[in-house]
Amino acid sequence: MPSTAQPWVALVGPEVEENLGLRQLASALNGAGFECEILPCNSGADVVRVLRRIASAATPPLAAALSLAFQWRALDMLALTLALREQGFRGHITAGGHFGTFASAELLRDFAELDSICRYEAEQTVVELCRALRDGQPLTQIAGLGLRDAAGQTMTTPSRPPAELAALAWPDRRGQPTQCLGHRISTLVGSRGCYARCSFCCIAAWHGLTEPAVRFRLRPVDDLADEMAWLYHRQQTEIFIFHDDNFFLPRRADSLARIHALADALAARRVGHIGTVVKARPNDVARDVFAAMQQRLGLTRVFLGVESDSPQGLTTLQRGVRQEHNHAAMRLLAELGIYVCFNLLLFDPDTSVAGLEHNLRFMAEHVDTPHNFGRVELYAGTPLLARMQAESRCRGDYLGSDYDLATPEMQRIFKLTMRCFGPRNFGDAALANRLMGTRFDVEVCRHFHPERYRTEWLAQARQLSRELTLDSISGLRAIVEFVQCEGPGADARQLVTGLVQRLRAVEADLRQRATELEQTLQTAVGARCRHARDGWADLEETGAHHGRSQAQASTTDRGAQVDVAG
């Protein structure tokens, strides 16, 4: 709990892994003299813990800043907003993030408890907001805010140009990092935005709407290398998960140059053996680029943005990618022996049975590659939502939009698919996600412990994915066949009952075998995995503290780079 009268800020948001958004705000606030607590809100249940934490503080926070980055978490954060006021919290409540920005007018209209929205990137905005609150200054002079005016009408202050990434403080790294087989993991970014313009992506929409619109910004290599070196030497980070929406640049030569420059910079900073995880678009996958990633930056896994292998799907999603890109990328990554996983948006507003078949064939061609599938969702701010609204095809409200697929036949296939595949594909226990993690454990063992690694473990991981995929394809084909033969209105009771039982039985078997493989790896290496943070345990360890400890005080200090630059 807060122990001093020093103004402090409660930063509330998901923290399953290090939340870079919140942690960069924490660094910015710390740099301006405000202490912060990062209060994890990973589930609805955490809302109550956040409430208790704030209510029991000796000194209430100057402001509570709530993450509204994820649209599907908005209800939790809005409930927290109501509860804070009902508990008598009188401090300022602000929110931010992608969804908060896009829905700022509606949120401020409907929730008087919410005082402001920090629109777009907020490192500078939140600092100026807190300074104004502390000093009793008007908020209308602060750029980048959504507010209410004196008459209670919602308004926005002028936009703030996106900051130079090199000028931003590094993310606060308080708390225990996650780890895989004893190797510490840090998340980070080398860029913001994405050069592509996919119709369903709120990130592309967000960066496209900034003023001036800057869709894609890179951190200077030296700044990125300094942070990685600091993490490597000070935090013992060995696995770097890049959350860049796309790690690569539009031109192959530029990507290659940046990879080599980063590798050289890390070597100059005495950064040793590391592993990296990146995201890529299929059209970015070139042999020399990924060979360099593998050989010089320890590439351990690629999350490939396939999304669809149907020509129609690629058009609807405005991927700017052709089927040939998907196929070539998968083929090349396999040749290089690089672990790849992907998601497929099997269902979109225009999906036909023929399009679905394209994607089923893609799944069949990559049966031993971990992947998942679902429906494209309509996120705030995206061109796809705008299109569906224009076509009057949306249900719901600004918190979330549902839609029917193009034909009754496809809608029926989608509904039956979700009915049967829900537990397999969605949520923390989803086996499709779990097997991505199991394979990652194998790859980390292969990368860091070649002397203990056994090729049969990789074969086992692939076999698990193969069995899951084949079972999924079989189930999907059964659903398609049923709807095509029986019609979209047919009674599916028998199909659903039988399929659900079969899918759950397969999952139970595969889950057990995945657990055994994971345990084998941990025994072989002699270390365990901790893939999720426990931010509340970290808070409890730090007891009454509500800001950075002395030991953590330099975690965002760029001066620290001197220590590690050699």
Binding site: S43, L78, A103, D397, L399, D402, V496, Q501
Partner: protein, 172 residues
Amino acid sequence: MPGEGNPSTVRERARNHLRGLLATSAVTGAAAQLASCIPVVCDPMPPPLVCDANQTTDYYLYQFVGVQAHWVIGAGNVYSVAVVISSYATAADKKIVFTANPVLVGATLGSVDRTETQVSFSFTPTASVSEVRFDVAINCNAVADTLRLRVDVSGPRSNNANIPVQSGEIEG
């Protein structure tokens, strides 16, 4: 940009959601814990958002809830049924919260273990019944509702054998 929505509806949903969270906290006394080993997934697939006006049991089974049941042989060779009902709405979403123990027709309730996301219980079917019905109270985004389920117990019984759990409202 987001659609207009209905202000009172959106606000009321948030308030109902809060009620549900507070009620759940009072019942369970603690927050849900994260699994110790959530896999590293860069972009977990989001569950589809489905807005159905009339939320039937089938809607929940279709979207958010998994049910499994199997026979268990006990002392005196008496068979009981073990049932597990789980919310598989993503942990961060909490659409479904179990708020009360199941109410059975055609059976005697045995042990019950209930958390906000899972209800495990057992029951012994009343002699001569062929079907056991059970209702489970839930909150869906803090709106009270009931799962209405049934199992056919007339078939052959063997230890650990699965029993299909059905809704009378299975989509069809």
